[in-house]
């Protein structure tokens, strides 16, 4: 394990984010986590969709793929299965992840594919300049909804738990140290991990103050092995708990399962197969 510093993972591309954007903290936290784990840069692949948050991969000097809107998880899954020894991280926003990309999460969870999915949730579409997102509070007013939005917000942590995601956590860009710790854990977690990061959009929906008030660490008493308890805590929305809601390390890794199948499968060459077809 090589000694490394957070900035070793930084590319020369200056983030295009607005000053004060919550995503800076996530970038810093992830670089620190990598440094702490000493993961070699060439063994890291970051996959993302489209959005402010999805611009993320360009700011790291690891491997990265900045794909199309909503497809961070399929891209990340393919990358991981293509080269299981990699550390694969999927990143994106609440729109990218819970709106257009929402259909992919349950299947990543079913597979328990070994990737870390960080959703920078600002409850808004930042890149397209401020439309309501699936996590926006009911009634939020914008040019796209001048009379206020009419949908209830989704509860990302609760969804992830219902999907039986094997590692579920919530962080806040205003709490960097805590985020680093959670990310370190998530990166080491064997299986699919989903981290909702409350990451305010200072330009179109600044929620820093609000989150400072309503966030607090999960009760020490909480047992991350208890999925139902985790759900109960997730359903409390007046207070937004931070930390690891749920963790199940007992499940087999998706990529291992394929290796297992490959060993079970009777080896054969193309010639063998053709021979069997000879009439």
């Amino acid at each position: 394990m090589t000694e490394s510093k957070p900035n070793d993972y930084k590319s020369d591309v200056k983030p295009i984010w607005c000053p004060g954007c919550g995503d800076y903290a996530v970038l810093t936290a992830l670089m620190r986590a990598f440094a702490q784990l000493g993961t070699p840069r060439e063994m890291i692949a970051i996959a993302s969709g489209i959005g402010c948050s999805s611009r993320f991969p360009a700011f790291l000097n690891t491997y990265g793929i900045h794909g199309i809107h909503g497809r961070a998880l399929p891209l990340a899954t393919g990358t991981k299965l293509g080269r299981p020894e990699l550390t694969v991280v999927a990143v994106g926003g609440d729109g990218d992840g819970f709106s257009i990309g929402g259909g992919h999460i349950p299947h990543a969870a079913r597979r328990n594919v070994d990737i870390t999915y960080i959703v920078m949730d600002n409850s808004i579409y930042g890149m397209t300049k401020g439309q309501p997102s699936p996590t926006s509070p009911e009634g939020i007013v914008s040019k796209a909804a001048p009379y206020g939005s009419q949908e209830r917000p989704l509860n990302p942590v609760l969804l992830a738990l219902a999907y039986d995601t094997s590692f579920v956590a919530r962080c806040f860009s205003g709490k960097l140290k805590e985020m680093v710790n959670v990310l370190v854990e998530a990166l080491q977690h064997p299986g699919f991990s989903l981290i909702q990061v409350l990451s305010p959009c200072v330009t179109f929906y600044n929620t820093y103050e609000h989150y400072r008030e309503i966030t607090q660490p999960l009760p020490d008493a909480h047992d991350p092995g208890d999925r139902l308890a985790a759900m109960a805590l997730a359903m409390e929305t007046a207070t937004q708990y931070l930390g690891v809601f749920y963790r199940d390390t007992s499940r087999p890794l998706y990529s291992q399962r394929f290796e297992e199948v490959q060993t079970r499968a009777p080896k054969a060459t193309l010639e063998d197969i053709f021979k069997r077809m000879i009439v």
């Binding site: 692949a45 611009r55 990265g64 900045h66 497809r71 393919g78 293509g82 080269r83 597979r111 193309l270």
Partner: protein
Amino acid sequence: MQEDNPTIVIRVAGEGGEGTITLGDLLTRVAAYSGLEVYSFRTYPAEIRGGQVMYQTRLGLSRVMTEGDEANVLVAMNRQAWLDERGDLCQGAALIYEATVDIADDTHSHYPVPAEAIAQSLDWPIGKNFALLGALTWFFRFDPDTAETLVRQRMQRHAESLEKNLAAMQRGYAYARETYPEPFPFNLAAPGKPAERILLSGADAMALGALAAGCTFYAGYPITPATPLMESMARYLPAFDGTLVQVEDEIAAINMAIGASFAGRRAMTATSGPGLSLMVEGLGLASMAEIPLVVVNVQRAGPSTGLPTKTSQGDLFLALYGGHGDAPRFVLAPDSVKDCYFQTIYAFSLAERFQMPVIVLSDQAMAARMETTPLPGTPWNGPLERITPTAEELQGDYRRYAYTENGVSPMSHPGVPDGMYLAESLEHDEHGYPDQTPQTHQRMMQKRANKVEAARQMLADWRMTSRRWGDRDAPFGIMGWGSTRGAVREATQRLQSYGIPVEAIYPHTLLPMPDSAIADFISSKRAILVPELNFSGQFGRMIEHRYYHQLDELNVHIYQLKKEQGVPLKVREIVDAAVSMINNERQQWEAKHGEMARIFEVVAGLAHNTGGRRD
């Protein structure tokens, strides 16, 4: 009938639930194992289970090119089968059918077989089709042991039903032998030990082509008629340390394949029309981020859900033009079961060498077809490798999207030290970082387009991008693509047997088109028939478009034969279209010619009147 090759066309028809397809399939296998060449076609019922289906298989002594038009032998499981198929029988066909079915007909020879009774006698009602298999084994004088062996293979997993079915088969055989001792009107002299051949389906051919090309990743979502390809890959991949994922939808399929390719694997997905429509955005990503990818599209009749189990060639335009912005790609069109194997290998070669998405167009008829074919050799030139950065390039300032002569830049992948880069869907600079300046955009568009030209060059040298046969430089030609080739080959033979010289060409790469080969073909023609299985004649339109200067200059006429009915082209339809094309040309020619004659007449007259005068 193929002129040079006597064949027997056998059509097995009945309810899906009566084991009709199983019967057709086993009969085909028995024939193949008995040394005959076979070529089959099958329909699927519109209903989920049951519903009338048809399995046509054609037997020959040498290579068979199509399933044939009219049937010589009809095997009818029930009365409906007779009603549906009687129109498609040749003169004096042989009717083999369940004895209880009453068939009022005296134009054909009848061979009723009490298959149901036999099955009942074993109280094994579903054994009906095996009783008929037994009878067929006798009629065609196949070796009953061969038949038994194949049935055993097929039914390994169902020991209990196996014995019952074998019994039904034996009784069917015995019954036929006693009742119909005389030689069967349709029979092919058992050939001597034939050359080594395999019995291959279009779906398997593509799966094996992918394996031969080193494919180790497949992501797919079930869809008729592409599912058999996914199932073949599921069966074979693990033995090659490959990974197959059945994903949540086609969008996930293409993006997962892109991810695996980004990670360095040779990756593919396969689908049919509706799925390809959903993959359009992903194709653009692979094109823009320059990630190798093979997408097989097994065409079925559209639009929309359309006729999911029926064949068509209606997705050509989508394959060629389906993308926003100008996103380069390749499109290949295999034209036989065996060619499915090779074109799939070439698809990976092109994808990997030029870092682009490649769409391979098959269709329901070709994917479900069983064909005897010689063991395919290894392709002389494939599979090509990815161009990867050299140690120096990695040490220096590695530019993933470096501008190069042919547009291809060395591609590294995660895990390679110092090869780190950003695969970018935004317009980007040589490093892959977003760059939205007009200059960069124009230049990168050119770079990506250059790869198509480079490929056109390379393929021209391969001289394997099209297949051409017939009377060299005959004035009348046929140009087609994909699975219709067998029918066209037989049609050309028939035309030739009529004494009509004709030549045909089938390009295998539709994007880039093998322009020199096509141009050479056109240059010797007066009229060209373009048959295809879609409503608007997409390929014909593309040919007219691409070669209109030459066509008009040389005054070569394009005639289109468009058929969109969910069923393959018949040889007869092609021959008829060719004949009417030539007739049409004849009239034009005579119109001209007649006029000429008149003028010469006049001139001749003049000459005569003024003959010999000298003042």
